[in-house]
Subunit: 116 residues, 2 copies
DNA sequence: CCTTGACTTAGAGTTAGCTATAACTGTTAG
DNA sequence: CTAACAGTTATAGCTAACTCTAAGTCAAGG
């Protein structure tokens, strides 16, 4: 039942234990279980959640917004619309970002090509 | 000859005057001309340089590294190899980043598709 | 001449996101 | 039994990249 200690979770998701505790303190990981000695026990769905947090963060969403998304998620079906709108607008942002990165890639390639 | 005041340059490159002065102070913009009253006059090539700085920064290069690149650039042909290596490795980084963004995009799309 | 406004400088303050420290506690190997 | 170890909390410190403030300068319009 107790799947991961903090150091195992840390290794699994490639974030330091500091960061995991920090995320929890910031409200991004509500409901992480603790054992009788007060030590964190990460479950499979915590790991999954962290994976999605990394996805959102890696695409430029702030921790504050991720927390907001999480709280909408916690409120279930009644907040589905709002939550989905958030994801849709984030998706648009990612698409734009990819486009920008491609433009910048071309600029760097051009600079390399110059050979000066 | 005096092409842009700081506020005109600011509008042109979409960075605040604060940021332009900060970049200069940090050594990213050496040789910006000043008029008799000590006010900055940005030339066309300063604007171009800022454009490339934005490109490097927008693809995740730190100001410190950008400054380093700039100083290699200033040393001309003898540092060409080093400078180009920097750009090549940065290019690889951008390619990887685009790949990651695409992966994350898929994750977000999948989450949207779930409709839960 | 006087005010206005855009500029100057040095340096302080802010924000995000960690990262580390100190002091402590419970588990385990010898 | 005890020493080492892996965890805990609260809180302080750090870095990057701005962002702003204060006090002052200068050129131009009325």
């Amino acid at each position: 039942m107790s799947l991961y200690t903090i150091s195992q979770a840390s290794a699994e998701v490639d974030l330091t234990p500091y960061t995991l505790r920090y995320y929890e303190k910031e409200g991004l990981l509500p409901g992480v279980k603790k054992d009788s000695a007060g030590r964190r026990n990460y479950q499979a769905d915590d790991i999954q959640r962290i994976g999605f947090i990394k996805c959102l963060k890696g695409t430029g969403m702030s921790l504050k917004q991720i927390k907001e998304y999480g709280s909408l998620y916690a409120q279930g079906k009644k907040k589905f619309e709002e939550r989905n709108a958030m994801l849709e607008s984030h998706k648009a942002k990612i698409l734009l970002e990819i486009k920008t990165q491609k433009k910048y890639l071309k600029m760097v390639e051009a600079k390399i090509q110059m050979k000066i």
